[in-house]
């Protein structure tokens, strides 16, 4: 069984990671996005291991996120940090927190609508405009400002908007 010290330490690290934001969508923390998969504190060596997983394989933000994690922990005096990247299980938008989805919408990006990534879902895209709430919208492009988003336009308020795709 893990000692109270280890549990408290890991909890405090999770709290610090809760303050690290995604470089591309700064309203979301890396916890909201489900990027952090595990935190381990080794009592004997004082080494902290943070396991993160990439959202998309080519996402250029991953290295920056690793650096931001190190900096945030360093500010709290935690200097022995190892960042471990894992691919499996593959990241999914199902891991996005509910509060994250609300923040995303307030930021002007429609949140993933379905629970899991599946082909059936892909055939019936009906997106709600984050600006006016209308469902009278159209897909402009499968890919938008980043690979993780699609570009839509609202046919009522005419505003274009990003949609964070199910993945």
């Amino acid at each position: 069984m893990e000692s109270t010290l280890v549990i408290d330490k890991e909890k405090s690290i999770w709290d610090i990671l809760e303050t690290v934001c995604d470089p591309e969508i700064p309203v979301l923390t890396i916890i909201d996005l489900g990027i952090v998969r595990a935190v381990r504190f080794d009592e004997a060596s004082s080494l902290v291991t943070v396991t993160i997983t990439p959202t998309y394989t080519g996402c250029p933000a991953m290295d920056l996120i690793g650096t931001q994690i190190r900096m945030s922990l360093a500010e709290a005096g935690i200097l022995q940090v190892q960042i471990h990247q894992t691919l499996s299980p593959a990241w999914t938008t199902d891991w996005m927190s509910e509060s994250g989805k609300i923040k995303l919408k307030a930021y002007g990006i429609a949140a993933p609508v379905a629970r899991a990534f599946n082909k059936e879902y892909l055939e019936e895209l009906q997106m709600e405009c984050p600006n006016c709430g209308s469902k009278n919208t159209k897909l402009v492009s499968e890919f938008s400002s980043t690979a993780c988003k699609a570009l839509f336009q609202c046919k009522d308020c005419l505003e274009p908007f990003d949609y964070f795709k199910c993945h």
Binding site: T57, C59, P60, T86, S141
Partner: protein, 260 residues
């Protein structure tokens, strides 16, 4: 150039060859797609194709990283993903010829992406059951991205094939040009057999069904010529790959060992 001992190791290890083949397909296709950056027909589609190229580059990196790790472990010589991408010459690349052909017009570009993306989709679907843990993980990760790529490219094949007389004519031309390069993807070579031998006939059948259904919807006549060009998987490439590498590898050729 790669160290001779690394080259020799690759030449006798089928798993490394297979990983490099998958990685080279992803990298060369990515590089071709990236050449459209700033030249797309409209801004949204320019961005779409650039994003696809980025996904493919990420997939290539995962595969090169894994291959580099295995080479390092087996030979004891520290090897990196960059060395595998930048220090091999034409004859050492194992990508299918289809990936390296010039982009041509937009129709040819989207058709190539559809033909190759559909193949990658069914291939990675099978590799999700791979006994090799890291390959399985890469497949599980990549197939989500490839699903969106195929959705995009199939939509374009449909739009242009079933579009104006001009767009249809361009698609017919593109199909005539690219068709003879599709067979190479579907016929496994020696280093592929240990990893997908039993599934290769299923992959081929699934690919053919997918292609036929989109062609039919796009009112494109399915090609009947059966003669297929091959060689890329064994390092025998078209002249186009040399020019592509000269550009892609320029920095390492001009300033060997340079790091960002």
């Amino acid at each position: 150039m790669l160290q001779q001992s690394i080259k020799s190791y690759i030449q006798q290890d089928l798993q490394t060859q297979y990983l490099l083949h998958l990685a080279d397909n992803a990298l060369i296709l990515s590089h071709r797609n990236s050449q459209w950056c700033g030249h797309g027909p409209i801004l949204e589609q320019d961005i779409a194709l650039t994003n696809i190229a980025l996904d493919q580059l990420g997939q290539a990196r995962n595969l090169y990283q894994y291959a580099a790790l295995l080479i390092t472990e087996k030979t004891g010589i520290a090897t990196t993903e960059d060395q595998l991408a930048y220090l091999r010459d034409v004859g050492e690349f194992k990508n299918c010829l289809l990936a390296e052909l010039p982009n041509g017009d937009w129709g040819q570009t989207v058709l190539r992406n559809f033909l190759m993306g559909s193949y990658q989709f069914f291939l990675y679907q099978e590799l999700q059951q791979s006994a090799i843990g890291q390959l399985k993980a890469i497949a599980e990760k990549s197939i989500k991205e490839i699903t969106y790529h195929v959705r995009w490219s199939a939509d374009w094949v449909l739009r242009l094939g079933d579009g104006t007389a001009e767009s249809k004519g361009r698609m017919v031309q593109a199909l005539e040009l690219l068709w003879a390069y599709t067979g190479e993807m579907l016929e496994p070579c020696d280093y592929e057999l240990p990893f997908i031998a039993t599934q290769s006939s299923f992959i081929k059948a699934a690919w053919e069904a997918k292609i036929a259904s989109v062609f039919s919807e796009a009112s494109l006549v399915h090609p009947t010529n059966e003669w297929m060009q091959s060689g890329g998987k064994k390092g025998i490439h078209t002249e186009h790959l040399g020019y592509l590498l000269a550009e892609m590898q320029f920095l390492q050729r001009a300033y060997p060992g340079l790091e960002w």
